[in-house]
Subunit: 153 residues, 3 copies
């Protein structure tokens, strides 16, 4: 099987670019995950996967990651992305949620906390804490907001 990740952190970034994909690329760089290969996952915190805000990712590494992102080319528009990791009370799995939309960072955070709470409730899991990271970005020409929970070893 593929190895199960053992560490996570939460990151976010907003940026402009000359195209939609390079705006996305620039937002990844701001978030500190622009130099690895993102492998999008949907999106569980494995048991014993610990919060570690400091790990470094090797260049080009295949990196399991849960993320939300939004790109806009409407000048003046505010876009936001948020990620939240629900950490369980017991030694079991948690849940990761991603959000992106045309709203402020604060609204994104409120929304995503509710999503984690719903996911814990439906699984009858007790919630110890929620690690949240969110960003908003006011579009100049072509902008991207990105938030993610990279998982690592």
């Amino acid at each position: 099987m593929l190895p199960t990740p053992k560490k996570f952190k939460v990151v976010a970034g907003g940026a402009e670019g000359k195209s939609k994909l390079t705006a996305f690329d620039n937002a990844l760089l701001k978030a500190g995950v622009g130099n690895v290969n993102l492998v999008k996952v949907s999106s569980i915190l494995p048991p014993y996967c610990e919060f570690d805000p400091d790990f470094a990712l090797p260049l080009g590494a295949l990196t399991p990651i849960a993320y939300g992102s939004i790109v806009s080319d409407v000048p003046g528009e505010t876009i936001s992305a948020a990620v939240a990791v629900g950490v369980p009370e017991e030694d079991t799995m948690g849940v990761i949620m991603e959000f992106s939309g045309k709203c402020s960072k604060e609204e994104a955070e409120v929304t995503i906390r509710k999503m984690v709470e719903e996911a814990f409730e439906v699984r009858n899991l007790a919630l110890k804490e929620i690690k949240v990271c969110a960003v908003d970005h006011k579009v100049e020409k072509i902008g991207c907001a990105f938030a993610a929970a990279p998982l690592w070893y």
Copy 2:
């Protein structure tokens, strides 16, 4: 290289949620894959990968999976998702197809069988059988239909 999967099954689920992502999460739980990390693949049955309806997935495991899903917030709308795995006559690869749309489960099944037949025909492969799994869901507020072929070891 990444290890090639050795087993597969077909699953499906429909559910409501308070948001689009939690509706998706709840549909995954109904389908029995809500507590793992889905790594979406596009979508071949490896040679010697055997049907096994009973395997369990470890919590949080990185799980290669082919899936189709649809989310709707139009009350009363019927949404469906289907997955079909074409199993070959000979000891070689098969093909997995995914479908989602605004139709009944029966229509989704008819559509997806044709897709597998086309994929076998274009590859000049003889088809032994098609494993199909489909679901439909009538939306109350925010609903999701999800069907998948998880691949495992």
Copy 3:
């Protein structure tokens, strides 16, 4: 951790199908990646990952791949997809960009070269060369254009 790829190539294909997903499947076959499990990555050339136009992928293998694709069911429409891998001067990472749109192959190539140049500039990396592969396809009924950089071991 997941193993980091050591080789890459660039491929592209355009095709018709009876449905959108089988058009995509047929374009993958034309591009030579139709019989593996694509694991989409976003999209860095790892250090020491070398260009090799000749490697074969085992049937059904989980294959890290950066790709762009577009499907259209508008008869007569020209669709295109392009991929470009920026190879660095120094022994470090490069960047992969993907593009798809309703334009000619030539326009796609111009666009994607600029995207790679922007990604190198923002990272202060010197660009040695760009490997580009692009395709366009004139839709008959349901068509797909697909371009990709598969990464391998």
